[in-house]
Amino acid sequence: MSALVPLTARRWPLLLAGLLVLAVGCADLVAGRSLDVRDVWQVFGGGGDPAARHIVLRLRLPRALVALAAGASLGLAGMILQSALRNPLAGPEVTGVTPGAVLGAVTATGLGLAGWRSPAAVVIAACIGGFAGAGLLWLLTGREKSDPARTAVHGVLVSAVLTGLTAMVLLVAPGELGSVVQWLVGSTEGRVWEHWVLLWPWASVWAIAAWIMAGPLTLLRCGDEQAAAAGLATGRARAAALGCAVALTAGAVSAVGALGFVGLLVPHLAFAVFGADLRRALPGAALLGAAVVTGADAGAQWLSRALAGALDMDRLSVPTGALTTCVGAALLLAVARRGTGPE
């Protein structure tokens, strides 16, 4: 089918998505308090006063970049999970991966194994936790893996158990609570170059791995019999895909926390825009995820500014994750209604 479509027609959605990411990134750079668009422009032109330079180059730029990379990772992870499990309702949030990763990161921080000094340890711990969460769901669903709605519901149960564990850890090490709450909801507050330096190599490696797996994943989406008939070792391909998804999620969680619903809903959007061929849909999902998270970040900053002015509360800052979760929940209602249909 794709051979019949002229080349230009295939490229423009991706190009548009790329442009969208750029636009949203710029919006994120100018969305914060205390500087307006002109100041930011001056800084990038090489001028501006030292304070403005510091704010833009040391605070806003890394924040926007981290949001982009994390969003891309989550979008990719969701796309991989949905394709590998053939479940339109699979996403890192409802398959136990995200809560597991949060638990791992929180536990490592609470035990003093990891902290701001050693962000690498947080990523490793988040990875282990993510795999544990996914494994737990695997055990729980047993033979009912084919029913998307059931799997999603079981995922919620797994998340409940993991949340209980996280709570235990937090109450044993109460000193961490303030800094960890940001993580539980997902936030890009105070992300600096250190986070970016750690995130981008990790995200790039796994994104390339995902790109390599686009072909097998497309086959997996068609169903196990067809994939096996085409000569694919389905079990191994699925395991590799899941590993890749968990690694991507863990990287994103350790950088920005548990952003709700990005990994669940971005793939739906990507499939709608880019079609079902994963060679195009995967990069599309990465771009859309980046655009969504960065856009949510810009929106959250703008909203914080508006609310702080209205309510006269200086410390008010809306976490990015709150925005993605609220919008995502509304969209999920639509997807669930469409997916299950009237019975």
């Binding site: 519901v153 709450v181 940001q182």
Partner: protein, 323 residues
């Protein structure tokens, strides 16, 4: 039947005695009668701290257990529990919002706020899922609604002061720490309203189990019945949440325990068992909450979530295997 009642009674007695005697100071069983009379330090600790806490645990557990059964039967889904439908999160939001925003609320109004929040969450879910014609759609919708409400709660937590944060987090998980007679007495009027309604609606629940079409043929207005069931569940859950927070997953585990005890029963027979099991679960879970990591108290909700979810799922699976 007699054996079951004896076993439940024995377990409850054991839990009650443990709750009254363990902790700091340790009150030996032989000294309990004297302590209940209220002499000395031990007497003060037992009558003013441990007894109200125990009563609250039992009442909260019974309410949550009964509410869980009502919801599961009305929506014909073993997973339809307050946590999954946005009812618990909604109630918690109603209570936590004034706390964080530093709006002082008289204690009598708190249950009303909780009821408002719980009703908001539940009604939103029911409406979005088309009144529960399809059991699985309700859960997905509920999960989405609950997630949105959770996000709102987390925003509140981010806004809170460091000092408030501990308190709020503990509350959101469900905790019985530092509850006194005052909190317990506030519950009675609500219970007086909810219990008769519960007894009246139990027979209708058995009919709803047959499926929408059959129930309609028997003259039950299905939508209204579901709405009434949700209203009763909200009435049972919200006051409890207002006092000790949404103790997680009791409404999931207790009904499944009741079904396991009485496999051939129906909603009417399960209801009292479900309440008893709920009371037992919360009373038992409060022991490790108080003692496991002493002197730090853990929230009872964390324990019920950790132990309740796997146990409930195991019971559910066995039941499905038997059916």
């Amino acid at each position: 039947m007699k054996r079951r009642i004896a076993a439940a009674g024995g377990l409850l007695t054991a839990a009650v005695l443990c709750a009254l005697s363990l902790g700091t100071p340790y009150v030996p069983l032989l000294d309990l009668p004297a302590a209940l009379g209220g002499d000395g330090l031990a007497g003060l600790v037992v009558t003013e701290l441990r007894v109200p806490r125990l009563v609250l645990a039992l009442v909260a557990g019974a309410c949550l257990g009964a509410a869980g059964l009502v919801l599961q039967e009305a929506l014909r889904n073993p997973l339809a529990v307050p946590e999954m439908l946005g009812v618990s999160s909604g109630a918690a939001l109603g209570v936590a919002a004034p706390l964080v925003l530093a709006v002082s609320v008289p204690a009598a109004v708190q249950p009303l706020l909780a009821i408002g929040g719980a009703a908001l969450g539940g009604v939103l879910t029911l409406l979005a899922a088309g009144f529960g014609r399809s059991p699985s759609a309700v859960l997905l919708t509920g999960a989405a609604v609950a997630a949105a409400l959770q996000a709102a709660l987390l925003v509140l937590m981010v806004l809170a002061d460091q000092l408030d944060l501990q308190l709020i987090y503990r509350y959101l998980l469900g905790s019985l720490s530092a509850r006194t007679w005052q909190d317990v007495t506030g519950l009675w009027p609500w219970l007086a309203a909810a219990v008769p309604a519960l007894v009246l609606c139990a027979p209708v629940l058995s009919v709803l189990r047959l499926g929408d079409d059959d129930a309609q043929a028997l003259g039950v207005r299905v939508r209204r019945a579901r709405f009434a069931a949700l209203a009763i569940a909200v009435l049972l859950i919200a006051p409890v949440v207002a006092v000790c927070g949404p103790v997680a997953w009791v409404g999931f585990l207790a009904p499944h325990m009741a079904r396991r005890l009485d496999p051939g029963g129906d909603a009417v027979r399960w209801l009292p068992w479900s309440a008893v099991c709920g009371a037992l679960v919360v009373a038992c879970a409060d022991l490790p909450a108080r003692l496991a990591l002493a002197p730090v108290e853990t929230p009872v909700g964390a324990w019920t979530a950790l132990l309740g979810v796997p146990a409930g799922v195991a019971l559910m699976k066995r039941r499905a295997a038997m059916a």
